[in-house]
């Protein structure tokens, strides 16, 4: 069963245009000009139950708008959506009982009272029976190591501590779908990895479906089997992370460190016949770029037997670079395909 189903979803905003200058301001007073901005342009996707899906895109690509429609905050302009069996904006109150929401930039908790008091209040709001609540809270508190924080007021918590509390707040009612909007924004590396581990466990143990938006691609690498990439309100990629890497990774780079000086010409000679590119900073360090069609081992085999090597490092094109180049081109088609199509003039196929 699909936890989230979205079809031809569109959201248009009417934005008031402000004319320039004092004269413009007066003109606006009597006749306003509006501009229609389409934030989400007829997107379609489905997320099966129990999947962790990453939702990425540049600022203003429409990620938050989509999440807000999926969580029942915004009413779509057109299209169909069904989340956990409900149409979010139609049966909002019943629907939200099944979902958890964490907005990285906003707090669910009451600022001035102890964390535990906020949890108690949320228990009442979500109608969680006392016993279930206790069990669940103990489990979450232990898992996220919050024992010492429970009685502190939220305003005295660090961002990392607060974020962990936010997660608990969003999960107290045991939702089957969890929405996270930039959950790791501004957090240090330790807290980030703690939160990632926690989300992975949640997903494994309770089968919680998770949809998260993030700008930190390490979140995606650590958590998501699937990525949906958005650009200017349209989905430009929807599929596995591995597949994305394979399609977009143009090659690998191998760094060599030599024990004794080795000339660039010698290296080129050794790999004669292979379409690789050598470069060197000095005589002890050299880099070779190997396209995807070639086996790394073939190249290594040629070099290893003959050179005095002290260190080898293989670098794959990382997700950061792949994503950056996709953003730049605005299309997730493979560079060759893009170049071959009639879109060629507008989408410049980038090479990393």
């Amino acid at each position: 069963m699909n936890a989230i189903e979205v079809q031809d979803l569109r959201k248009a905003f009417k934005i008031q245009k402000n004319r320039e200058g004092l004269k413009g301001a007066f003109a606006d007073l009597f006749k306003r000009q509006y501009q229609e901005v389409i934030a989400v342009k007829d997107i379609t996707f489905a997320i099966p139950q129990g999947e962790i899906c990453g939702y990425i895109g540049e600022n203003g690509a429409g990620k938050s708008t989509t999440i807000k429609m999926l969580t029942g905050i915004l009413v779509p302009t057109s299209g169909h959506l069904k989340v956990g069996g409900y149409v979010p904006y139609e049966e909002r109150e019943r629907f939200v009982q099944n979902i958890g929401v964490v907005f990285g930039q906003r707090s669910q908790l009451w600022w001035d009272i102890g964390v535990i008091e906020s949890f108690q209040l949320l228990r009442k709001v979500y109608r969680v029976p006392e016993q279930d609540f206790k069990k669940r809270l103990d489990e979450l508190v232990e898992r996220l190591k919050l024992q010492d924080l429970l009685n502190r007021p939220v305003r005295k918590l660090s961002l990392g501590q607060r974020m962990r509390c936010e997660l608990v707040a969003a999960l107290l009612h045991n939702p089957s779908i969890l929405f996270l909007d930039e959950p790791t924004i501004g957090l240090d590396i330790m807290v980030k990895s703690e939160i990632r581990d926690f989300l992975k466990d949640m997903n494994r143990e309770h089968g919680t479906t998770i949809l998260l938006t993030t700008h930190d691609l390490q979140d995606i690498e650590a958590l998501c089997s699937r990525v949906i990439m958005l650009d200017d309100g349209r989905i430009i990629y929807d599929g596995g992370l591995e597949e994305l890497k394979q399609r977009w990774g143009t090659g690998r780079e191998v760094l060599f460190q030599f024990g004794r000086a080795t000339k660039l010409e010698t290296l080129r000679q050794w790999t004669e016949g292979l379409a690789v590119t050598w470069s060197a900073e000095n005589e002890l360090n050299a880099k070779v770029w190997i396209p995807l069609e070639l086996n790394v081992s073939d190249v290594l085999g040629r070099v290893v037997g003959q050179a005095d090597i002290t260190d080898i490092k293989i670098i794959e094109t990382n997700t950061d670079e792949i994503v950056r180049s996709i953003y730049q081109s605005g299309s997730a088609n493979k560079p060759e395909e893009a170049a071959g199509s009639f879109m060629a003039e507008t989408t410049e196929a980038p090479h990393v």
């Binding site: 905003f13 008031q16 600022n59 938050s64 708008t65 807000k68 969580t71 029942g72 905050i73 915004l74 009413v75 904006y89 909002r92 109150e93 019943r94 939200v96 009982q97 979902i99 929401v101 907005f103 930039q105 906003r106 707090s107 669910q108 009451w110 001035d112 009272i113 008091e117 108690q120 209040l121 009442k124 709001v125 979500y126 109608r127 909007d181 930039e182």
Partner: protein, 265 residues
């Protein structure tokens, strides 16, 4: 029914939370109570000053006008305690806190009322009751079996009228980006409802009775207790007006929420 218990339970919870928060800032709590009372006292003194110059106001004696003022204080106190939407536009729309409200399983308007409850305002209601008892005693008003039930029902209806008007006006925030300046204006107009409407000209009477019915919050229902027969039928109309205006308010609000645009990211 379970739904009603759920909401009543929430009122208690939010009330407790308010207390926990506020008791950490005790001084603030008392400052609020005192400034509230001072505000009422200035209005009260104004009535006394008026009656130093005249014996009756449109046929109403000083004690009668004071009684009306006392009655007015009760629904006003309940309204101020539970319905505080003065900073709605800024807090919920501009800062986007409406997002959070909309992801929780209780009615959005109710959540906003609860998040902004202001219990110190209730003290004004107690003062109002005291004023009614004293001025009523001086007027020799009879205390009937229906006095207390009628007081409760009319208070609730008056609160419904208030809530309806302010909710409808606040829901304009969903349509316009800028906070509306209309609420302070309303706040001033509502004061007119405390005086016998017969002292105003015809247009203002109609305005206060049918368009923005603040007369139903003060003078009309109070007239029932003052045995002013010319206004008894109006007093009995209070529940109808309450239902109509609360309905309008809720309708406008629910339509507004559908247009909510969210803020920033």
């Amino acid at each position: 029914m379970t739904r009603m218990f759920y909401y009543l339970g929430l009122i208690v919870e939010y009330f407790k939370n308010y207390m926990k928060t506020r008791l950490t800032y005790r001084a603030d709590f008392w400052v609020e109570v005192i400034s509230d009372l001072l505000f009422q006292a200035t209005n009260f003194i104004f009535i006394l000053v008026v009656f130093m110059h005249t014996d009756s106001l449109g046929g109403w004696s000083q004690n009668e006008v004071i009684f009306v003022y006392g009655f007015f204080m009760v629904p006003y106190a309940v309204f101020s305690c539970f319905v505080n939407m003065w900073n709605f536009s800024e807090r919920y729309i501009v800062k986007g806190e409406m997002d959070r409200v909309l992801t929780r399983p209780a009615h959005h308007l109710f959540q906003i009322f609860l998040e902004n409850i202001d219990p110190p305002a209730l003290i004004g209601g107690v003062v109002g009751i005291v004023i009614m008892v004293i001025s009523g005693g001086q007027l020799g008003l009879p205390f009937e079996w229906w006095t207390i039930p009628a007081l409760i029902i009319l208070t609730l209806c008056a609160v419904a009228i208030y809530t309806g008007i302010y909710t409808a006006l606040t829901s304009l925030s969903f349509y316009s980006d800028a906070p509306t300046g209309i609420l302070p204006l309303m706040f001033n107009i509502q004061n007119y409802g405390r005086y016998p409407v017969t002292i105003y000209n015809r247009t203002i009477q109609i305005l206060l009775t049918w368009v923005i019915p603040f007369a139903f919050v003060g003078i009309y229902p109070a007239a029932l207790f003052l045995q002013r027969e010319e206004m008894t039928s109006m007093a009995l109309l209070t529940p109808v007006m309450g239902a109509i205006f609360l309905g309008i308010g809720l309708l406008a609000w629910n339509m507004g929420v559908k247009r909510y645009k969210g803020a920033g990211s």
